[in-house]
């Protein structure tokens, strides 16, 4: 029998971490929580690798002219940054770590529907990552993470290894998504109706649908690119009648929905954190759920807004512009609901709450700058300039990465049974905010001034803003390093044991031990309400 009391001896009980020892037990586990941790360690490594690539790029760009590398080398570094951050880090991202850890706990299940398939997903992810590393070792790719044809067909770099890696990684993504969908459908505990699911679970559901439906498209597209390079097959190469714009269509058909794979789970995380630290229900639960599903659906019909100046027809350009405006609305609805959650709450400012509130600010910038890009007349100017670079860093870093860091801090006591150093976590948060905004706000201005992206060198009038951006990048890097090291240090050495439910949160995951036992629950729980029933019931409900 596990102890139910919230005393400090919690962490010393048998749990999923100490129940079996030895590296082999980890490498062959089918426990979703252990799999989540192994993803976490790998992802952290790649986050730092991608971050180093970012610093290399920003250091070169600190001043006009060649600083520390040639143009060719620079092109390989920015490609490496994009490929590592996107395919090896943020696409697996929150679903692989937090989704794997929390999903069964949140729905009251012992594990996911296919635990062995889950382990296979991890192995496939490792295989794909290895292939990417081989590519970076042999002859680093210099095409940008988008691998546009015909340059990607002609260049001598190890494109086949890298696109092959992306293909393999896509499989991992598909299998995880498939697993989650079946889990959510089939393994909800008694009383857990669809409308009692935590919004994080809904977010995972919408994300998984995208993973399953969109990933095969880019997989096949990259396979065709590989055939084109290896066998001279003619699909995208104009010298034999192929169409480079067709590549762009196929590529973005996945790569637009992929940004929702990155950010929807982060939206879910914010929806979990805000109610807890406001002691109020999530405002407009149904609207938040509908908007998650809506974003996933509409996200499939806007892909060519990445191609408005690629030579597509004027009709298409106008269609995709209007469709893109539509996808903004559900996101706006979410933000309104989040802030309303805080109304008349009892707000406390834990580190996860700081990150969640910052998320709202950062995502307002991200979303509104997206409007510029949706408006086709204005996108003509901004496309492929630094404005776009700043926009997508606000959405991906300010959105998805901040969501992941917030989640790691929030669920840390549950995952590891200890607390991290609070003061250090706050200092790190501040540095991340300062550094991130200093890096990317100047880039909006650079874009307005017409500075194109993927430029090794630039005209002198852009110098000051680039220098500011580089300084910001170093502060940003330092902040993240501090935050992550603080967490890892606490994992290994913190003596502050965490109680079962340090925040007095509702939600099934908080009913378990901290850290949970291997099977999560002694017996499958039963629920009779949703996870946001904070506060005193009001007389009337709308």
């Amino acid at each position: 029998m596990t102890a139910v009391s919230a005393t400090a001896t919690e962490g010393s009980n048998t749990n999923y971490i100490n129940c079996e020892r030895g590296i082999w037990s980890w490498l062959t586990t089918v426990d979703h929580k252990r799999i989540a941790l192994m993803y976490l360690f790998t992802l952290t490594l790649f986050f730092f690798a991608g971050g180093i690539a970012a610093l290399a790029v920003r250091t070169e760009l600190a001043f006009p002219g060649g600083q520390i590398m040639s143009a060719d080398t620079y092109n390989r570094w920015f490609t490496a940054h994009g490929v590592i951050m996107i395919f090896l880090f943020i696409v697996p991202g929150i679903p692989a770590v937090m989704g794997n850890f929390l999903l069964p706990l949140m729905i009251g299940a012992y594990d996911v529907a296919f635990p062995k398939l889950n382990l296979l997903s991890l192995y496939v992810y490792w295989l794909g990552s290895l292939m990417a590393l081989v590519s970076l070792g042999i002859h680093p790719v210099d095409t940008g993470w988008t691998f546009y044809a015909p340059y990607s067909i002609k260049t001598g770099s190890a494109v086949v290894w890298m696109t092959g890696a992306a293909f393999v990684l896509g499989f991992s993504s598909i299998l995880t998504g498939l697993n989650f969908i079946v889990t959510i459908h089939k393994l909800r505990c008694p009383g857990m109706t669809w409308l009692r699911l935590p919004v994080f679970v809904w977010a995972l559901y919408a994300t998984s649908a995208i993973q399953v439906l969109a990933t095969p498209v880019v997989g096949m597209t990259l396979m065709l690119l590989i055939f084109e390079r290896a066998f001279g097959v003619c699909v995208f190469n104009p010298t034999c009648g192929g169409d480079p714009v067709l590549y762009e269509h196929f590529f973005w058909f996945y790569s637009h929905p992929v940004v929702y794979i990155m950010v929807l789970p982060a939206f879910g995380v914010i929806g979990e954190i805000l109610p807890v630290f406001s002691r109020k229900p999530l405002f407009g639960y149904k609207a938040v759920v509908i908007s998650s599903v809506g974003i996933a659906a509409v996200g499939f019909v806007v892909w060519a807004h990445h191609m408005l100046v690629s030579g597509i027809s004027d009709f298409s350009a106008q269609f995709f512009s209007i469709a893109t405006f539509l996808v903004a609305i559900p996101t706006a609805v979410k933000v309104f609901n989040w802030v309303s959650t805080m109304y008349k709450g009892s707000i406390s400012f834990s580190t996860p709450m700081l990150y969640a509130m910052s998320f709202v600010f950062l995502f307002m910038i991200a979303g509104t700058t997206g409007i510029y890009l949706a408006a086709v007349a204005v996108d003509v100017f901004y496309h492929d300039t630094y404005f776009v670079v700043a926009h997508f860093h606000y959405t991906i870093q300010g959105g998805a990465v901040i969501g992941l860091i917030a989640a790691l801090h929030y669920w840390f006591p549950k995952m590891f049974g200890r607390m991290y150093n609070d003061l250090v976590s706050r200092v790190a948060w501040f540095l991340v905010m300062l550094g991130f905004n200093l890096t990317f706000l100047p880039q909006f201005v650079l874009g307005m001034q017409g500075m194109p992206r993927r430029y090794y060198d630039y005209l002198p009038q852009f110098a000051n803003l680039h220098l500011a951006s580089t300084i910001g990048a170093y502060i940003n890097a330092f902040g993240y390093s501090l935050a992550i090291l603080n967490l890892f240090w606490a994992m290994a050495f913190s003596k502050k044991l965490a109680p079962k439910n340090p925040y007095d949160a509702l939600g099934l995951e908080w009913r378990t031990q901290s850290p949970p036992i291997k099977d999560n629950f002694d017996v499958i729980p039963t629920v009779d309400d949703g996870p946001y029933a904070y506060g005193k019931p009001v007389a009337t409900s709308h």
């Binding site: 012992y110 296919f114 089939k186 699909v235």
Partner: protein
């Protein structure tokens, strides 16, 4: 506390394996649902090539029309018949499994796999015809149909790869039938395997007219 993870084959050697976190009906429905989702991904995978084919056929109609005439529609039709037959026997295997007739499951699946081998043999004949006329990638006449042929080989090649995957999958299921594994209480692998096989067949049903007939 653990919930007993080993398959309790001793209690009921023809019953569902003990999966500690799902009861048998849930496990069965979960497996089927999972396979349907996987089939959806396969459709999208092939969808890319179908879309590329459609676009290039519209763009290079002459070339596609002429090229399609070079394809041996008789062999293609034979392959269609072969695959339909294989699907029939796969469906029969499911029915037999649901009634516990393991020997008949084994024979039906062996016929299915046999048909698949026949498919691959016919495909090899077709490919070698192409090779001898120089229509293979790198062949001397390849450039004559330089947009049609790459797509043709990609689509039929990747389909053939899926035929092989299906054969391996069904072979594994057949080996279970040989050990008398199935009964009316448990036949999930047969059903799920057959589902996959039907998709492989379905893709060919679209490929054949598109490549060989409509051209």
């Amino acid at each position: 506390m653990s919930h007993g993870e080993h398959a309790s084959v001793l209690d009921d050697p023809q019953g569902p394996p003990h999966v500690h976190h799902m009861d048998p009906p849930t496990a069965y429905h979960a497996a089927k649902f999972g396979m349907w989702l996987f089939l959806a991904t396969e459709l999208l995978l092939f969808g890319v090539m179908f879309a590329a084919f459609a676009i290039f056929r519209w763009k290079y109609f002459e070339e596609f029309h002429k090229a399609s005439k070079h394809l041996n529609w008789k062999l293609g039709a034979a392959n269609t018949a072969v695959l339909l037959t294989s699907s029939y026997f796969a469906a029969m295997a499911v029915d037999h499994a649901q009634h516990g007739r393991n020997k008949k499951v084994l024979s039906s699946l062996l016929i299915t796999i046999g048909c698949a081998v026949g498919f691959l043999v016919i495909k090899t004949i077709e490919y070698s015809e192409k090779y001898h006329h120089g229509y293979f990638p790198g062949g001397e006449n390849f450039h004559e149909y330089k947009t049609f042929l790459p797509l043709y080989f990609c689509m039929t090649g990747i389909h053939a790869l899926h035929v092989i995957i299906g054969m391996v999958l069904l072979g594994w299921v057949a080996s279970l039938a040989a050990k008398n594994r199935f009964s009316e209480r448990y036949y999930t692998p047969v059903e799920v395997g057959a589902l996959y096989w039907h998709l492989v067949d379905l893709i060919w049903i679209y490929l054949f007219p598109l490549l060989y007939l409509v051209g």
